[in-house]
Symmetry: none
């Protein structure tokens, strides 16, 4: 018997790239939570032949097929009919579905068309998968031994409650899950995925939990996933591996799971009841934006100055005009003066400043695109500037975002050091 | 001969639902633009057997396979090796790739690990699909007659330029497309997708060009797509329909194609050689961040003040303390004072201010979550505040982003009015 779920998304709009396939992500997450192995996702258009072909492949390798899309009332909604045809089963009208469609139309003042009646058809032998939000229900059907098919509409606001209310309890009751999966993620900054992988290479051989690296926007992560009978057991399996990884990579690890560099900085400041202000040049406010993403950030973030022009640096941050003319805006000393200036002006405990050349224009031989200085003003009056260099090929917004992330990481490291 | 492209996304993180498959959408859109038929998308994990199985299916029904993911340096990056094995072809190291990996490491001061060397391997006979951004290139390979394979990394910021710079011209040159598709997009703010659709309902019946509405982050768009033998012919087909739509929707249309509300504001300021400064409270710098997304923004954007705390509003923007105590920070009069203050302090022609309650906490009955004031200070000294109300259910970051977008749209409309 094949064991595993397969997601089959049906909709020409997906093939045209008109919408993001967020249903596949949702269903994948839900299957993982239930501990149901899931090895394939397929997308096909609203075409009976290709739906048949996809069903032939899926039914040969999986024992659970979950479809999305194609349950609507228009002529290109073909899913129910195609599934029935593929398994040589006639469609029959379900009076309870047709009644509900009529009730809902009355409720919302809509006029029904003959098309709508199509939504009341299901293959003979299939059960209704109720839709509490929209008109079209799905089906729960075992057309052959060891094969369960669940169909859902493509609209996420209908699919989610159908999953939660009916499909998830059903799959649990029928023991489709093999225990439960639980994942924890360790987050890194300042280390490449490959270098991180080298440090924990021996752990990639583990079977339960598994350890896998991935990267996004210059940010490396390690995911530890355990399979167990209960979530508690899974967490216990993960704990020693997580501790070992932390031991090996502590220098670069800034947090876990839903942490962000900004939320970690915020937690640190909150713990010590200290405040922060920022002075931003090339990032234009992005650091402030990230720091205010979390509600409650006003308890540690006072604000800042976007000193995009040189005059603003002088007028609002008390940067010395002569030093500016001599060293240029992108220099260690100006970063220091900006950090000191914003800390003083806003009366905060800490100041972070950013000045750099994000490009694509504005670079010179001595100061190329990608050169950035981050300034940090400490509570005791000390000021420091750190030079960063990013590859110009990454492009303006990558450099800007990486600069903001780096400034938060530099701040975090210095903050914990001066305990 | 089978004619059609197939997208094969490789990555266990997709099966676990950890990331959205945005690459599939991007590639689908790009294939549509080139007029290349595209009938299937498949997702499999980082597992050689299942990658082989997916290749067997795809190579039997498509003449173009585009893969994403699995080109990184870690042990679970298996794509290149799996493809080579499936077609019984040995891998060989390409010195030019290895050299570039080393150069990039030197540039960014990273240490290379033995893992990285794997990225220099390609199947014998495959060409390099250059990656101008990251270390891992893809491949361009015809392992058998009538089958072209293109591989891409999973990181979108690397995939996009690889597609634009190499894959797209290559597929056009090899005549994979059936004619050409050309799309133009009209961009809207301040109108819902459904309301916009009602205004141009009769155009949705058109066959060539087609008109389709879509929405993203509260932003409605209309896409006009024509198929023709040449791009010029397609543009000519689009022109009259575009003119008609503009006529019907001019009030809400702020731009086309790659425009953003920030880039449109920047163009307007540049045309009149005027400058702008911003004062942001609940958005924390996001408006400044958007305005500085474009290189060259320093010619019209001077900077601003992130006045997250009340003291900063008083100290840096000269907001009146008594008025602040009396009316509260989220009020029309404070928005006006902030806009006037930042314009005066930064000596700009225009000032935009934002003060609001982004939530989820901090709302009251008279000032609920979602209440925002945008202030605008005009060159002639006039000051104005506009009240906006967003649904609290949208969440903090939706409200913040919509506020920034709305402030730019309000500015744009006022700017063009005072010609």
């Amino acid at each position: 018997m094949n064991v595993g779920a397969e997601i089959l998304c049906i909709g020409t709009e997906l093939l045209l790239g008109e919408i993001l396939n967020s249903n596949a992500q949702y269903l994948a997450q839900q299957l993982a939570l239930l501990g149901i192995p899931h090895f394939y996702q397929t997308v096909v258009g609203d075409n009976p032949d290709r739906i048949h072909q996809a069903l032939a492949i899926a039914s040969s390798r999986s024992n659970l097929i979950i479809t999305t899309g194609g349950l609507g009332p228009t002529p290109d909604d073909l899913t129910t009919e195609a599934i029935a045809n593929f398994f040589h089963t006639p469609l029959e009208e379900r009076p309870e579905i047709w009644e509900r469609i009529q009730q809902m139309a009355t409720l919302t003042g809509r006029t029904l068309t003959p098309n709508n009646r199509k939504q009341a058809l299901l293959p003979k032998g299939a059960e209704i998968l109720p839709n509490s939000v929209g008109t079209a229900p799905g089906m729960i059907w075992e057309p052959q031994p060891n094969l369960l098919i669940l169909t859902f509409p493509g609209v996420p606001s209908e699919l989610y409650p159908m999953w939660q209310q009916t499909a998830s309890p059903l799959l649990q009751a029928r023991n489709y899950g093999q225990g439960t999966f639980h994942s924890e993620v360790l987050l890194y900054w300042g280390i490449a995925e490959s270098a991180l992988a080298t440090k924990v290479n021996h752990l990639f051989e583990l079977q339960n939990p598994t350890v896998a690296p991935y990267a996004n926007y210059g940010q490396a992560r390690l995911r530890i996933t355990a399979r167990a009978n209960t979530q508690q057991e899974a967490i216990a399996l993960i704990a020693p591996v997580k501790a070992e990884i932390r031991e090996l990579t502590s220098e670069f690890c800034y947090g876990t799971d839903d942490d962000t560099l900004a939320s970690v900085a915020g937690q640190l400041l909150q713990e010590r009841s200290q405040t922060l202000a920022v002075a931003e040049s090339c990032t234009g406010g992005w650091l402030g934006e990230m720091l205010t993403e979390a509600s409650g950030s006003s308890s540690y973030f006072l604000g800042g100055v976007i000193s995009y022009s040189n005059d603003v640096k002088v007028d609002l941050l008390d940067v010395d005009r002569q030093t500016l003319d001599q060293h240029g805006a992108v220099s260690a000393i100006i970063a220091e003066q900006m950090a000191h200036g914003v800390k003083t002006k806003l009366k905060s405990d800490w100041g972070i400043s950013i000045t750099g050349i994000a490009g694509p224009t504005g670079g010179t031989e001595s100061k190329p695109v990608g050169l950035v200085y981050v300034g940090i003003a400490y509570p005791d009056g000390k000021v420091e500037a750190i030079e960063l260099r990013f590859s110009p090929s990454r492009g303006r917004n990558w450099i800007r975002k990486a600069t903001v992330m780096s400034s938060l990481d530099l701040f975090r490291k210095r903050f914990v050091m001066i305990k």
